[in-house]
């Protein structure tokens, strides 16, 4: 055998090295192709949002008027100043008072101290209340502000209750006005203002002018596109939380890693779910509630959707629609109180007596599309929506009744019965 014939056609070291390189490269190639496909899908969803003219991210740059810019600054400052509200010992006492539905005499001084301590935050919220609000400027840490402004809203409520104790009816309504205006900034505030509004009108007689001012603020909150706005904002939060894009060019690496394709896939799926939900909530009331619940799942990238996605979607939608029902009931309440002032404390026999002199158009029950229910009581009245269960359960319950029912049945809140206001 000759030397030439003994040589193999492929040198073993090359065969081994190239096979090894290929084995390493193929998974990388698969990953890169997957990354590209997922980014392409995500981009198509983002562009679909842009085509609809809807905001893609909360941090998106936009221009605002000088007044709206001031409102933005005042609210951010109020949120920053109220950041420690729930952590301090006095505030815990105040929150206990707040959740109890009434102010026990022994705790009033502590409540006054809390309101005085956060006076700057309240003052800034008061100033912002009279300004138009168009959103927060880019660069703000929005989620933290939501929580802090919620605390400012609680402080407004506490201040209103203290004003009632002092017999300052208009000051109480002014504080509720600031609270109502604060709701412009957030997705879901605790729907507690109706409790204090009832308290204020039960114990004091505010002037028609301040009641009208509060009525206007409530009218502004009663928007038909509330669910759509909420879900668009949630979607923008989801896009922000995706941390995309992070790499703007080949081999350009920023200070954080780009999300892997499986994460991008999750966000794309979430955007698809958002698209379904937003299409559903564009339907008129009350059909939109059934349509959105039929989607059956919450977008998976949000904290609300870690588990029990369907239940969380129902919880979110019902909480939001109920809060709108309460706002509408509050609007009717203000109209009834103005009617009473003009008619020697006589209550209207039905809500038809209020329009158009005291309320332009009677608001409708978001769950039925029919007029809100009105029921005179022995010493007052209740205005309400039948709620998610669609049954007339006798109207909004008093705080005492609600506490008792919640004590007996831990899942009482899930019954989703009537939602509205009650004045006694």
């Amino acid at each position: 055998m000759t030397a030439a014939e003994s040589r193999p056609l492929v040198r073993p070291q090359f065969a081994k090295g190239s096979a090894l390189a290929l084995a390493v490269l193929l998974p990388i190639l698969a990953y890169t192709i997957w990354d590209y496909i997922e980014m392409r899908r995500f981009r198509s969803r983002i562009e679909a949002i842009a085509v609809r003219g809807e905001p893609i991210t909360i941090q998106g740059p936009f221009k605002m008027s000088a007044d709206a810019g001031d409102a933005d600054r005042f609210y951010r400052a109020a949120g920053a100043l109220a950041m420690s509200f729930t952590s301090g010992q006095p505030s815990r006492a105040a929150l206990a008072l707040y959740s109890s539905g009434d102010l026990p005499a022994e705790a009033i001084d502590a409540a006054r101290a809390v309101v005085a301590r956060y006076g700057e935050a309240l003052s800034l919220a008061d100033r912002a209340a009279n300004l138009p609000f168009e959103g927060f400027k880019p660069g703000t840490t929005f989620n933290y502000l939501i929580a802090s402004l919620n605390d400012v809203a609680r402080l407004c409520d506490l201040r209103a209750r203290l004003a009632v104790l002092d017999g300052r009816a208009d000051a109480a309504i002014d504080s509720l006005y600031t609270q109502a205006r604060l709701k412009r900034t957030a997705i879901q505030f605790l729907a507690q203002s109706q409790m204090s509004l009832s308290t204020v009108v039960e114990r004091t007689r505010p002037s028609p002018a301040t009641m009208q001012k509060l009525s206007n603020a409530l009218n502004d909150l009663d928007r038909d596109d509330y669910l759509k706005t909420d879900f668009i904002r949630l979607r923008a939060q989801a896009v922000d939380s995706s941390q995309m894009p992070l790499s703007s060019g080949l081999f350009v690496i920023r200070n954080t890693a780009s999300p892997p394709p499986w994460e991008v896939h999750r966000y794309t799926r979430a955007l698809d779910t958002f698209a379904e939900i937003i299409a559903a909530v564009e339907r008129p009331e009350p059909a939109r509630i059934g349509a959105v619940l039929a989607v059956g799942r919450f977008p998976e990238v949000l904290p609300q959707s870690t588990e029990r996605s369907r239940e969380n979607l129902e919880g979110f939608v019902h909480a939001r629609v109920r809060s709108v029902a309460i706002i509408r009931a509050s609007r009717v309440l203000v109209a009834i109180e103005r009617f009473r002032r003009d008619h020697d404390e006589r209550l209207p026999s039905d809500l038809g007596e209020l329009a158009p002199a005291y309320i332009g158009r009677l608001p409708l029950d978001p769950y039925t599309g029919q007029a809100m229910r009105y029921r005179p009581l022995e010493h007052g009245y209740t205005v309400y929506s039948v709620g998610p269960n669609g049954l007339d359960d006798g109207g909004e319950k008093s705080p005492v009744e609600t506490r008792e029912l919640s004590r007996r049945d831990r899942d009482y809140w899930k019954k989703w019965d009537d939602a509205g206001v009650r004045v006694q």
């Binding site: 392409r40 740059p61 400052a77 920053a80 502000l145 992070l246």
Partner: protein, 92 residues
Amino acid sequence: MRSSDDLDSVLKRFRPAGPPEGLRARVVAAAGVAQAVRPAPAIAEWLPAAAAVLLVVLFHWLAANERQQIESHVIPVAPIDHAAALLAEFHE
């Protein structure tokens, strides 16, 4: 019984008389071709890996391009210590 002469004549009929003409030329030619392309199998062996590298670069570039297009809609903003910034703003 056949004699040895008979056997010789039979064997002569079946005795190999040498390879057919042209076989040598074919073998040499084949060996010559194999020698000429011998370096090629090493390159060929690396071709799939090289193609994979090219494809990785291509798809990475395409993905980066997609990110750039997303970036035209989504402008990231660096997080700030908002509380500190706001307090500074209001205590000026």
